[in-house]
Symmetry: C2
Subunit: 388 residues, 2 copies
Amino acid sequence: MSHRRAALVGAGHTRFGALDEGPRKLLRDAVDRAFESVDRGMPRGQVDEAFLASLGFSGWQLGNASALLAEEAGTHQIPVTRVENACASSGFALRAAVRAIESGQCDRVLVAGLEKMTDAPSRRRRYWLGVSGDTEWERLAGLTFAGVYALMASRYLHDYSAPREALAEVAVKNHENGALNPNAHFQKPVSREKALSAPMVADPLRLMDCCPVSDGAAALLLVGEEHARSYTDSPVFVAGTGAGSDSLALQDRESLVHLAATRRAADEAFRHAGFERKAVSFLEVHDCFTIAELLAIEDLGFAKAGQAGRLTLSGATRRDGSLPVNPDGGLKAKGHPIGATGASQVYEVFLQLRGQAGARQLKSPTKALTHNVGGSGASATVTLFTAG
Amino acid sequence: MSHRRAALVGAGHTRFGALDEGPRKLLRDAVDRAFESVDRGMPRGQVDEAFLASLGFSGWQLGNASALLAEEAGTHQIPVTRVENACASSGFALRAAVRAIESGQCDRVLVAGLEKMTDAPSRRRRYWLGVSGDTEWERLAGLTFAGVYALMASRYLHDYSAPREALAEVAVKNHENGALNPNAHFQKPVSREKALSAPMVADPLRLMDCCPVSDGAAALLLVGEEHARSYTDSPVFVAGTGAGSDSLALQDRESLVHLAATRRAADEAFRHAGFERKAVSFLEVHDCFTIAELLAIEDLGFAKAGQAGRLTLSGATRRDGSLPVNPDGGLKAKGHPIGATGASQVYEVFLQLRGQAGARQLKSPTKALTHNVGGSGASATVTLFTAG
């Protein structure tokens, strides 16, 4: 069934990191910058509807998070829906926003993703992150979130005789990219030696295999395709979206070395987009841990099972490689304010496809993929974009 | 813009109340009953996508709530999105589900609403309910949720010289209806005298003006209209949806005696539906407190400002009146498991429009309205239905 496409005409982003700003200020800043980024401007009163993605850390003592966006965006009484799918919250919020446009009910939609994490006590933070994975069989038995991914990494290294250096190479590459991203939490390169000798967190994952706990927000403005040119000469079109789910607990899944939710999401997105994987210029994938980037490259269909490590070691996923992955530094270096991550990936796509990514600009990308995972793979979204 | 309509072909409901069952069991029961209610059956593998509405009480120690539905529904790896808009969560989830169908991306969608509240410690419960209202200007200053609605009630009684008896009459009517609903939390009538002399909670609201804290779940099955007749001879069509938002804090709103979010939601829904208010046979409105039912009747456009009390006292909103309101007992008597409430209202519409509401069946209703409010009016959804 053909439908009206959604076009991205604006995107805003705060700095990611351990920030002084509270959640309201972060949200307002990201939204303000999204409106400022619209080449020919967009009056706030034109927006029909908005979606907020946030895990909603209790540290703020704020609930009913959609109302925060309603209050801070200056869009006056429009419907705002909060979507929460753990770390994939803004991927799913984007999916809902795209449908609001494709269904014909909305012409202009705002999506914002937000998390304020660093001011929550670490025990509470562990709880909020922990419940994004399985509680009954994993968390209450003592398994941490890093531990869950460590199980996947161990199995991956074993099954495919993959070199441990491949995990470190993901960190090295993403830190190299993050060093060129003024919004990144970490803006400094990391050496191979340092990545390989960092303190152990959950064997085989070391500190440099884990993304940080960050504050931050990102916002996107989408319009029906027929309106796109009235806002900019360089819109970015949403070509397709896909999503999938799986069991919370690893033990209930068909495999430890692939995420079925990602596979399903990618297949659906490409079916809608009507173009092939080889047409994609670069990927923004969910590298909450280095192993997650390797799994993503394979599950999305860009490498055979067990081959993503060798692909990474070959340099192919660097900015000057044949398939750049996470040119913005990824969750690993850019940071991972949970609800903001999916929208932040799309922000990078917006810059790259318009040639506005500055020092980290890729060479003439035309199509891009974003991949956002909830929990340890209980859900995933994939979105495909094409330059206008 | 014309679009493919969504048709309701199945609905399931658990008992509401202080229940022994945990959240997984409640969810599974509601979903099982929804599938069982489809006249010619629906294989679970046919469902394309699902939406879960839940406030997500921390008492369970469970997060990533969408995964609970993915695991319990037996629908295998389909995308599941969690929507949270405080007490309006399942109203907003329904809106997302309807769009999934109207956009042409989905043919068959499951919506489930769930809350398990009674096993959370009362202090934590107050916190979770409290943060659905304003934190910075209301909750942390000591205002309870009942207190917020008491301010609205005081102002309403004063501005319109409305009789206190009108509030009590809402409770009496809804308990009378709830007594005929085998799923209701309270299945017994309440006398006018008892309603008027119940213990004071927040002046002028007494115990009988407040809905209870309940456990429960409800589930809905929607399909694209062209598929409806393959499941049932009596589908119920979604004629229109609307939603709106407002400030969290009362002090920031234009009025204490109407909810702008409800007005906006109703106007949008009727614009989409293409029929008038006078065509509506009955209303399911969000009566978390008795005053909320009076405000709803007015804000939805079924009585002039200040007139809903007199309308209620006249008997017009009883089951045999000209405009029945909350024939299932409403939040007041049926109970209010937060995330389940919006879906539960639609369950009643499904029964009533198909003539299956048993002892509380209305006389030949053909069109119905559901109204679901988030917090003290920070958001609201309105959905219109028409018998097939």
